[in-house]
């Protein structure tokens, strides 16, 4: 059972990095869509939410075609930097980040929209720049909602299977995450390994969801 911890560590690494990427991208786009008015905003919102409703295998196929050896991005990366993404743990991070992105984006957008615009306006009249308004008013007020979204995204990334299997494969110790290790163990009829992996997956997920529940905006005391 010694080796069974390796997929857990790998899953935590992949999900952690994917969440970090989503912290930057999800919060940025969430704030932009919440605050800016531009044509095609609804379309952009729909497109950014798409990974949440599409089957992970569809996303996996898109990624495979995009970053694969013959894909436009994949062949460019290879000829420019000698990087082959498919079958690496970095590919697993990309898959997990794409799948979990809408959870951060949606939460961040809702959190920023619930921030009282008058407070931001007050900051501006007191001479704060747009950047300062974001860092000192919007983000601190929206922080809990954003964090709840990040935790949900982390949990989703931890459980990612379909897209990950397609672009990162199942290499023990390198790209074989928890979810994929469970699948392999069941396919091979190794029920004891499967039971152990399922156990640690369930416990980890419950811990993350409990933490996310405590941060949900609904549980906040009213602000004003």
């Amino acid at each position: 059972m010694q080796g069974a911890w390796i997929p857990l560590l790998l899953s935590l690494k992949v999900a952690g990095l994917a969440t970090l990427i989503n912290l930057l991208l999800g919060v940025g786009t969430g704030y932009a869509v919440a605050r800016l008015r531009f044509p095609g905003r609804d379309l952009l919102d729909a497109a950014l939410t798409l990974p949440m409703v599409m089957p992970p295998t569809v996303l996996g196929y898109y990624l495979l075609v995009l970053v694969g050896a013959h894909g436009p991005l994949g062949s460019w990366l290879y000829t420019q930097f000698g990087i082959r993404l498919i079958f690496t743990w970095q590919a697993a991070v990309i898959a997990a980040a794409v799948v979990a992105f809408p959870l951060v984006f949606k939460s961040a957008r809702a959190a920023f929209e619930s921030v009282d615009a008058k407070l931001e306006e007050a900051g501006r009249t007191l001479g704060l720049s747009e950047v300062s308004v974001f860092w000192h008013i919007s983000l601190p007020l929206a922080w809990r909602g954003v964090l709840a979204g990040l935790l949900l995204a982390f949990a989703r990334a931890l459980g990612e299977f379909g897209a990950t299997l397609m672009v990162a494969g199942s290499i023990p110790g390198k790209t074989q995450t928890l979810a994929i290790a469970v699948y392999e163990a069941v396919q091979a009829g190794q029920d004891d390994v499967a039971n152990f992996l399922v156990g640690i997956t369930s416990v980890t997920s419950i811990v993350v969801l409990l933490a996310a529940g405590r941060l949900m905006p609904g549980r906040l005391p009213r602000r004003h």
Binding site: G68, A69, H70, G169, P172, E184, Q187, A188, G189, Q190
Partner: protein, 251 residues
């Protein structure tokens, strides 16, 4: 006594549904490598036995075995190796006496169509031009098990281990090669034939033991007589002809 109308409706509906669902239907779980020919054989069988429909379920032989062991409603099992079928016999899922061998296959090494040079033997795979080599996951995919045996006999398994990419079934290994995501892959001759110009055949790999496909009715199946009839049909001349046309070899 008054029976609520809704209940009558629900019951009769359920009854019709059950009749429709079981009338002349046979579920066949077959090794992933049997894909295309099995579909043609099924069509032939349905033509000869009007009213019969075959449900085909493809996957790695090991995965199919686990599905059946966990209660999947399957009537016929056809695997790509003797070992998986032997496990099914030992688990009491199929009768040893009802099991028949129906076709053979060969293990080959294929390269992407763009590959500039072909390896002369397995030892060449240790070279720098082969960074990634695909094979089926040996724990559940027979083609992967044959490939591992071949590499072990050549004394290459340990050396190549860091380069190996394990596929969920042999068709996935083939797809990895065809897409150029790996530099070489172990598949069956029938898979290489199905891929046509998308892959290059490098060499035939001696797998150690002969690659012979067995089939058997599943004990828990609802229609044992029809299941046995389909297993016999797999051995018949029309089925064999389809399989040979798809790159399989005669027993």
């Amino acid at each position: 006594m008054k029976i609520p109308r809704l209940k009558i409706f629900t019951l009769s509906f359920a009854l019709c549904w059950a009749l429709v669902a079981t009338a002349g239907e046979l579920t066949v779980s077959a090794a992933a490598s049997l894909g295309a020919p099995m579909r043609q054989i099924a069509a032939l069988y349905e033509q000869r036995h009007p009213g019969e429909t075959l449900q085909l379920n493809f996957g790695a032989s090991g995965a199919l075995l686990q599905q059946i062991a966990n209660g999947a409603p399957v009537d016929v099992l056809a695997t790509a190796d003797q070992e998986t079928m032997q496990q099914a016999v030992q688990a009491g899922l199929v009768d040893a006496a009802a099991r028949v061998n129906f076709i053979a296959n060969r293990l080959v090494l294929v390269l992407p169509a763009q590959a500039a040079a072909l390896p002369k033997d397995l030892a060449d795979l240790a070279g720098a031009s082969y960074q990634r080599i695909a094979l089926g996951q040996p724990a559940s995919v027979p083609a992967g098990r044959y490939a591992r045996a071949a590499l072990e006999r050549a004394g290459l398994w340990e050396r190549l281990a860091p380069k190996l990419i394990f596929a969920q079934n042999v068709r996935q290994a083939l797809d990895y090669v065809a897409r150029g995501e790996v530099d070489a892959g172990f598949v069956y001759a029938s898979d290489a034939a199905s891929a046509g110009a998308r892959v290059k055949l490098a060499l035939e790999v001696p797998p150690g033991s002969a690659i012979v496909y067995p089939a058997a009715p599943v004990r828990a199946g609802a229609r044992p007589r029809e299941a046995q009839r389909f297993v016999e049909f797999l051995r018949s001349a029309p089925s064999r002809e389809v399989l040979l046309r798809h790159g399989f070899s005669a027993l």
